[in-house]
Symmetry: C2
Subunit: 149 residues, 2 copies
DNA sequence: GATTAGAGTTTACATCTGTAAACGTAAAGT
DNA sequence: ACTTTACGTTTACAGATGTAAACTCTAATC
C-alpha cells in the first residue's frame, strides 16, 4: 500500500496559503527560495510572511519536506484538484440547495473556460439530465418547515 | 434614486453568518425570536450565539432593521443570489485559471441540479462555446514564467 | 405601579488568519 | 578557524470568527 495517501482532506487551506500551494502545485517541487521569490512577485508580502505560510502548510500536512543539503524541497501532499474540489464543494454546501444551479450559471458566465472544458461540462450535464429531478427543494429551513428562496 | 441600494458587496459573510442569512432570505423578513428558533433547530448554538451573529450582520449592512414595538424585524439588505455569486467567484478566483473547468466538472458532478437548471447551464455553455478559447493558460506563476498545473 | 421577561447591546475569550520580526544554527565563503 | 549567509523555527500581534454569558432596558403582566 502507498505510504503517503491523503484521502482525508482534514485541514483547510486558507486564502493566503493557497498562493503558496499554487506555486508548489505548478512546479511540483520547489525549495523555499523559489517559493519566496515567485510568491513575492505576485503579492506584496515579506519573505518572513511566506516562510510562515510554508511552515503552516507543512504542519497541516499539505506540503511534504525532503532534506536537500542545508535546505528543504517542498512537494504537495494533497492534489490540487482535490483541494479545489473541497473548496468549491464546501462553499456550495453552505448555500441553499435550490439556488445552487443559478449560482453555477452565474459563476460559469464569469469564468473563462476552454472549448474542451465546455464540451466536457455539456456532456456531463447531458448525462445528468437523464436522472435529474424536476426540482430541488429549498433546504434553508429546518425539517418540517416549507419555504423557498 | 433608491435609498438602500447595495451594489458593492463590501463585507464578507462568514460561514456561521450564512446560516442566519439563509433563514432571513428564505422568510424575507423575520424577528429575532423566529431566527433564533429556526437556526437553533439546525445548529447546536445557544440563543446568545445567534444574537451575536444577527448583530454582526446588522453592523455589516447585510441585514436591515425595522422597529416593531419592542423588537425588530430583520430583512436582507443584500440579495441571496449576489452573495452566492460573490462567494463562488471569490473561491474560483483563487484557483488556477487553467483548472477551473475541471473544478466545475467535479462540483457539478456532486451537486443535485434540477432539469431546468441543467438545461439552462447547457444553453449558457453552448453559447459560451462559440467564443471560447482553445485553451486557458495556467496563471499560477508570475508573469514571464511559463508552467502548467 | 412594581415586577418580570424578553429583545437588543456589551463584554469575553479562545482560535484562526494575515502579516512579520527575531532567533538559532548549520553551511559557505575567506 | 572565523565570519557571514541563509534556511527553518519561534515568537508577536492585530483583526476576524465561533461561541456565549452578562447586562440594560422597555414593554407586558400582576
Amino acid at each position: 500500500m502507498a505510504i503517503t495517501e491523503n484521502t482525508e482532506v482534514t485541514e483547510t487551506i486558507t486564502n493566503a496559503e493557497w498562493c503558496v500551494m499554487r506555486i508548489v502545485w505548478t512546479l511540483d517541487e520547489a525549495d523555499s527560495h523559489t517559493i519566496i521569490d515567485l510568491v513575492s512577485q505576485q503579492h506584496d508580502w515579506k519573505a518572513a510572511t511566506i516562510k510562515t505560510l510554508i511552515g503552516r502548510l507543512v504542519k497541516k500536512g499539505a506540503l511534504a519536506t525532503t532534506k536537500n543539503g542545508r535546505q528543504f524541497i517542498y512537494t504537495p501532499l494533497i492534489p490540487e484538484q482535490t483541494a479545489m474540489d473541497a473548496a468549491l464543494t464546501g462553499q456550495l454546501d453552505q448555500m441553499c440547495a435550490m439556488c445552487r444551479g443559478q449560482a453555477f450559471v452565474h459563476a460559469i458566465d464569469q469564468t473563462e473556460l476552454s472549448q474542451a472544458d465546455i464540451q466536457e461540462l455539456i456532456t456531463h450535464l447531458q448525462e445528468k439530465l437523464a436522472t435529474a429531478p424536476t426540482m430541488i427543494a429549498c433546504d434553508c429551513l429546518p425539517d418540517g418547515y416549507k419555504g423557498s428562496c
